[in-house]
Symmetry: C2
Subunit: 554 residues, 2 copies
């Protein structure tokens, strides 16, 4: 039996998953919460934009999660032995860069920087660099429009250069102490492979291409002249980063002796190149051309692929179209919504002061409503808009409330808002020639919330499928490990053997689809005017909603 | 000692107040809840627009309230005797028309119609006639633009003809059974005076002028040709209504023997003409030229007066400018916000599932916030916009929420929204030459909520005063009674003796006023675009709010 291990670094915890390469059977898994901060995240009360993580948590988390997964595997399969594991794949959140010293040790592991926030890993949802992001956008539009065109024409505060430049601007002592910076998804494989020189780290084109403006077309990372225009020290840093990034066909290295011992695995087994969680998640959801994968969690990430034989134009508002970012031989297309589950959580926990039971109560009540019956319309921008406006400086909106509007009505309106946000993304990528025949959803919300899934089907007019695995990201990492370990000749074969969808299909219902088409038009009016796209007359929006409401209650 | 009685018919209860005419001392009062319906209002689960009241409640309510007030007066003043009462004044909500038979008996008191909703009194907040209101607006704009110009150019579903026409359209059997229709504020004085013929009822110009399109300029009520264009039966009804309406200088009649017995008062004492509650309320708040009175309750009503010697232009969006509507010898100017206290109540009770204690908690938390600190902006249209958009088909809006937005922040944003709505009214009437030197507020919210009063001062940039009496409407009725009883020679003298303001003054604070000026500009952008006034670019609104928020938290 050939078995691989997927390690999935999430926002609050790390997951280890042991998978049978023959059929994708999940033999054992274990989730370990990061010990530091608030649910694993280091926060700053004075600045909601700040979100960091302690790199030590990643190392101790790997040891504990692998140990737990091995124990679980032994329990579920008496024939299992850790030596059967022949490869490791790693995915993580991103862009989550961390500063390292000359020996590839995380700066935050140095006692001098143990408590320095700027020396930690800068978690994907850290928005402290929004002023830097605006500067990078401005400079790129002026000097190197091709760079920012690949990022939907706007560079985000969530990404690599914004964060590093913000560190340079606000914590120069950390920037100066750092020899180099590494994406978390590249750093963990390098550590496991025992790489001691940051320049020797095999960097994945997934993180590089989407977030660090890397492209072979212009010789890798942004050129020094451009970086110098941002800050001369960034140009110097370029020499200590990397010249080439790799897709998942290339291994990141082999498991070193020290980490083989710490994890209880065989030395020398293959380690796949690191990718972001949703990219390997897409692989774990059986992504192929024509399939859009949505990983629905606190936020939502969308992934699609298009054969690299074809030409894919830049798509306005789509933040990354990178060859090899998901599957070798395909363009990877990434999009996302900055908050989805987080918005429902805000409504239930912060506003309504409830818990999981209240989520269930609202879901039950909201299920009784027809589209438009509440008269409400919301925008899903409580955490900004990642796609297609690429604008963190946007906020939420709820419109249409009367003196009778209930909490469950607003709960449903918030779900609908995220469905409309999903539709805006879907229609944009289709408009630019990316085919979407099937939408496959993954994540806890997709598994559990049938109301949301049906609303998504009705509001987008598409069939919704659910990924077979509840651990799609870790599974995708295990698939990549299976390919680099040579169990399967290529990703297509590996995916066919190891991944798939559940039988359930959420089909759009004709009447609800028609009602949502009307509501979506109104949503896009708000979207375009408040999002700064174009000046739309909103004078009929409330009246149109009331008419739809009157008709829905008839 | 000369004493008068004010009877104030509110939405949920009737209040009787016994007042010393020499100094306004409130000798005794009593509030009686209407026994029927939900908190006195007959509702229809299938139609949120419907709000009716049973006329029998007004009669039994008068008996009980007067009896209670007499008892209270006797207890507080051993020298008091009911025979000292020499006049009665009556005010009520409006426009609240009810159908009556040939003997001026309410149709709903006939057993045949006891349970017929259309035969009850159509409470001010009944919006079932919104389609009829649109028709009246359209026909008037086309055929008699002068009629609707006096109503801010839009006729409301809350008003007389919309309701009667809706009754005719949907309950023709009730319309046909009705000999005539009477405003509640005219009906009660007529009943007390023993008037048995609807054509003999002394109708007040307050209700007639504002709500029934009555004006001496065009010979009283709308002409038959116009009414015929709405429905020929309305033209027929005109003959059974009235030719002339009177201001408060004319009495409505004298207390008849039967009602003298039922109330325990002397037969033959003077009864003042009826006015709407806030109009007599303005008198009870010492209104005069330069004073704007705001009665802040579930909704807000604004009243001002301008000498009839002057010329007052029609003011767009201001629903009534009628000579004698408040004080004889003055134009009465009326405006209002369709929901104020009701919006806070919705937030606390419906959304946050709390009670008075939660109001207090939110008020305490919201008091700690600076203007703009929450990043929120709301529109106060949960119940439509009475002034200056005159549009019931509008709804609420909350904008600027993040994943951290608290309930108290939204509570404050809703208060601010009503303050901005108040400012829009104030600026509009000033723009058209109605001077506002002082704003005087009355009602429970003005008395109790210091946070709201300070926000109103800061957001409007005006000093806010509070009426001395907590029962300003009933007091104003008692003032009118004192004038028609001959205790005082005119209203100015009576007001000087009987009414006034509390010592407390809420002054605008410079920094908060400046912050609110910025927020008000953004509010007006939303107001104008979503209210259908003009097409405004809202692409910067969320960003501007975030900038104001960033500055406020520095």
């Amino acid at each position: 039996m050939a078995v691989t291990l997927g390690l999935d670094y999430g926002t609050n915890s790390v997951r280890a998953l042991i998978v049978d390469c023959a059929n994708g059977r999940e033999i054992g898994s274990c989730v370990v919460d990061y010990p530091s901060g608030h649910q694993g995240v280091l926060l700053d009360d004075r600045d909601h934009n700040l979100a960091r993580q302690h790199p030590g948590d990643y190392l101790v988390g790997a040891e504990r999660a692998v140990s737990g997964a091995l124990a679980a595997a032994r329990q579920s399969d008496l024939g299992f032995h850790p030596d059967q594991i022949i490869g490791i794949g790693v995915d993580s959140t991103g862009s989550s860069p961390l500063p390292v010293d000359k020996n590839n040790q995380a700066l935050a592991l140095d006692p001098r920087f143990r408590d320095t926030l700027a020396a930690q890993c800068w978690l994907w949802k850290d928005h402290t660099g929004h002023i830097e992001a605006a500067l990078i956008t401005e400079k790129s539009r002026a000097l190197r429009p091709q760079y920012v065109a690949k990022c939907g024409n706007t560079y985000s505060s969530e990404w690599w250069w914004s964060k590093i430049l913000h560190c340079l601007n606000t914590s120069p002592e950390v920037f100066d102490a750092a020899y180099s910076w590494v994406e978390l998804c590249d750093w963990v494989p390098a550590v496991l492979a025992g790489v001691r020189d940051p320049k020797a780290i095999k960097r994945g084109v997934c993180a590089a291409g989407h977030k660090a403006m890397y492209a072979e077309d212009w010789g890798g990372l942004p050129d020094k002249e451009f970086l110098c225009a941002l800050n001369p020290k960034l140009a110097d840093l370029r020499d200590r980063l990397y010249d080439k990034a790799y897709d998942a066909a290339t291994p990141a290295g082999k498991l070193c002796a020290e980490w083989a011992r710490r994890l209880g695995l065989r030395e020398g087994i293959a380690i796949a190149i690191g990718e972001f969680d949703v990219h390997y998640g897409a692989i774990g959801c059986a992504v192929e051309e024509g399939v859009l994968v949505k990983v629905i969690g606190t936020s939502t990430c969308d992934c699609a692929v298009v054969s690299a034989q074809k030409t894919v134009a830049d798509i306005p508002g789509i933040c990354g179209i990178v060859k090899g970012a998901i599957l070798p031989g395909f363009y990877g297309i990434e999009a996302g919504q900055s908050a989805v589950g987080d918005i429902f959580k805000w409504w239930v926990e912060v506003v309504c002061q409830g818990d999981a039971a209240l989520h269930e109560q609202f879901t039950a009540e909201a299920s009784q409503l027809r589209p438009g019956q509440s008269g409400l319309l919301a925008l899903d921008w409580n955490n900004g808009n990642r796609t297609i406006l690429v604008d963190q400086r946007l906020t939420g909106l709820i419109l249409g409330q009367t003196l009778h509007t209930t909490r469950a009505e607003i709960y449903r309106a918030l779900i609908e808002a995220t469905a409309f946000g999903a539709r805006a993304i879907l229609e944009r990528i289709e408009e630019y020639g990316v085919p979407v025949k099937t939408v496959v959803c993954a994540g806890g919300i997709a598994e559990k919330n049938q109301l949301l899934m049906q609303i998504y089907a009705d509001a987008t007019g598409r069939e919704m499928r659910v990924a077979r695995s509840a651990q799609a990201c870790a599974l995708g990492s295990a698939v990549a490990a299976a390919v680099v370990a040579g169990v399967h000749p290529d990703f297509a074969t590996a995916q066919k053997a190891m991944t798939g969808w559940k039988d359930i299909v959420y089909k759009p219902r004709r009447a609800d689809k028609a009602a949502y088409n009307k509501l979506y038009k109104l949503y896009m009016k708000l979207y375009d005017n408040l999002g700064g796209v174009r000046n739309v007359n909103l004078g009929r929006v409330m009246k149109d909603l009331l008419e739809i409401k009157d008709n829905a209650t008839k």
